[in-house]
Subunit: 339 residues, 2 copies
């Protein structure tokens, strides 16, 4: 079942919401997430209170980011992987970060029918990307939704992202393991690997190793593995496995999940998982602060009055970037920050 948005006005008192989430009530989970997605000031305060109450029961899920360019088969993969996990008795939550969804009417998880089986699975809870706000705001709401799902007893949280920009970095900062999906098509050329995203990957799976394409996918995985060896791995010493799978034919999925678990075990054994989560928490606080400063700055009437002209003059070279910054900063903080 998919969590449906509901107005904050109708929401039950916070203690009922907290008890409902802890008891796994789907309606309470959905309403809690809606509250965290709200950009209204009162909702934000209530949301932070809710989070403070849920935090002690959070932290236990396996958090996995899943990325890859459009067309790589993310939805089919998550649908098949999710069903595999719920069949094992695990409860699976699926979230998404896609700041473009407001404009494109939801490319990530927006079309519920793309995850038919998982959407009908009582062991799963699917929530589309918040469809309004900056990347920072969307990512914050998603990160806080992880807390809700964990407090509700979900064992696995999958966070989907669209694979074309900065949202991957945001997602990598909220998960334990980042799984990158790629595919091989048009000869041997790998599709779906962007240079900026490869550095975030902990596990890579070449999807669409279907039928006649299986050998091609294996070849591409071998080449990619070699390329990663040449380029050097992450600082942690973890060697990134490159697997093949077919989400469509449901082959290789158990092995991909095994690699995710091995990465997590490696991090735990080295004491890196705790460090990662602590660092993620602090870095998320700072990301939230930067996002708030940025949105406050853009919303400032004095800044808005100048912005168009200043940007045009800076772009044309007539005004130095430092001078443009000074002009706008002076509009934002007329006293220069001096009391």
């Amino acid at each position: 079942m998919t969590g449906s948005p509901s107005g904050a006005r109708e929401r039950p008192p916070l203690d009922e919401l907290v008890a409902g989430v802890r008891g796994g009530d789907r309606n309470c989970i959905a309403r809690s997430i809606t509250l965290l997605e709200s950009t209204q000031r009162d909702d934000k305060l209530a949301g932070q209170e809710l989070l403070a109450a849920l935090l002690p029961s959070s932290g236990s899920a396996i958090r996995v980011g899943i990325s890859g360019v459009p067309g790589v088969g993310k939805s089919t993969f998550i649908d098949a992987m999710g069903v595999l996990l719920t069949a094992e008795g695990q409860r699976v939550g699926v979230l998404a970060v896609d700041p473009s969804s407001a404009r494109t009417f939801g490319s990530v998880l927006g079309d519920k029918t793309r995850m038919d089986r998982l959407a009908a699975d009582p062991g799963a809870f699917i929530r589309p990307s918040p469809s309004a706000g900056t990347l920072g705001g969307v990512a914050r709401a998603t990160r806080e939704s992880i807390v809700v799902l964990e407090a509700a007893g979900f064992d696995v949280v999958l966070v989907e992202t669209v694979g074309v920009g900065q949202s991957e970095v945001a997602v990598s900062r909220m998960v334990d393991t980042f799984l990158l999906l790629a595919m091989s098509r048009m000869g041997d050329q790998l599709q779906g690997i962007k240079r900026g995203i490869i550095e975030l990957a902990d596990v890579i799976a070449v999807n669409k190793a279907d039928g006649a394409h299986e050998a091609e996918a294996r070849h591409a995985a071998g080449e990619l593995s070699g390329a990663l060896r040449i380029l050097g791995g992450p600082g942690s010493g973890w060697r990134i496995p490159v697997l093949t799978c077919s989400a469509l034919e449901e082959r290789g999925l158990a092995e991909v999940w095994q690699a995710v678990l091995e990465h997590r075990s490696y991090m735990q054994a080295e004491g890196l998982l705790d460090i990662k989560r602590r660092e993620q928490a602090v870095s998320w606080m700072w990301a939230t602060i930067r996002d708030r400063l940025d949105s406050d700055f853009h919303a400032d009437p004095a800044v808005r009055g100048l912005l168009g002209d200043v940007e045009a003059h800076v772009a044309s070279g007539a005004v130095a970037p430092g001078r443009g910054a000074e002009l706008l900063m002076r509009a934002f903080r007329p006293d220069g920050g001096r009391p």
Copy 2:
């Protein structure tokens, strides 16, 4: 000759400084850069006035970023490349971005003797990294120093960076072409390529192709070239050349420079250089604003009073990142940005 810092107090009037820079006077160039590096409020205002006067005569140099991990031979490379260019009659300025130089006493260009020949070359001007400030501040000063060198008639500006972190991103946003130095040692393994930096490279040179290591370097370059092909190139359609060179034996340097020029010609022919520079100017303004907001935030007494406790509670999981951000934002802007 190396530009030496001089106190802002002794500086000549701005119009003399501007005329001196335009006439190529080394003392005026050095003093202008010192002014731009200053963090004092009065100096900053004077610096922006200076820049406004110099901007119309800037923009004509070939701007090249040079990166690579410590030990890859950046100084030897810049020394040899610089002498090669000045021998052709070109005037070469060398700047650096290394925010760690205040702590490490100048790993980048700090040791003047590492560029013996270029330091004594009348056609060259070498300036170490500003040794104080945030990355944003250091990078801003370096970017503005490019304007000074261009107004002084320098044909080429090389910007060195240390190859281990975020300063590469900052440098990539102020140059036309980003040259990454790598090397091959310990078997075939390439050294000096970090996954996060590879995406910034426009040209790659495997250095230290010296004597017996030449074949090894060529093999490594071939492997790297193949890896880049698999991973896909930048969106511009430019195919990244991977060359070998020996800065020590002064071989292959002309070819590396040729590749830099070819990248620049490609950008110009496609109309991408103008677009890049316009975008760089605006993105630099925003980077400066973010840096200012960040430093104002950290300098705020109310924020400083809370910061230690809030960070500790967020790291331990006792306080949600969003709540921590809210607490600090409320300290920074008690009125919540409302007038």
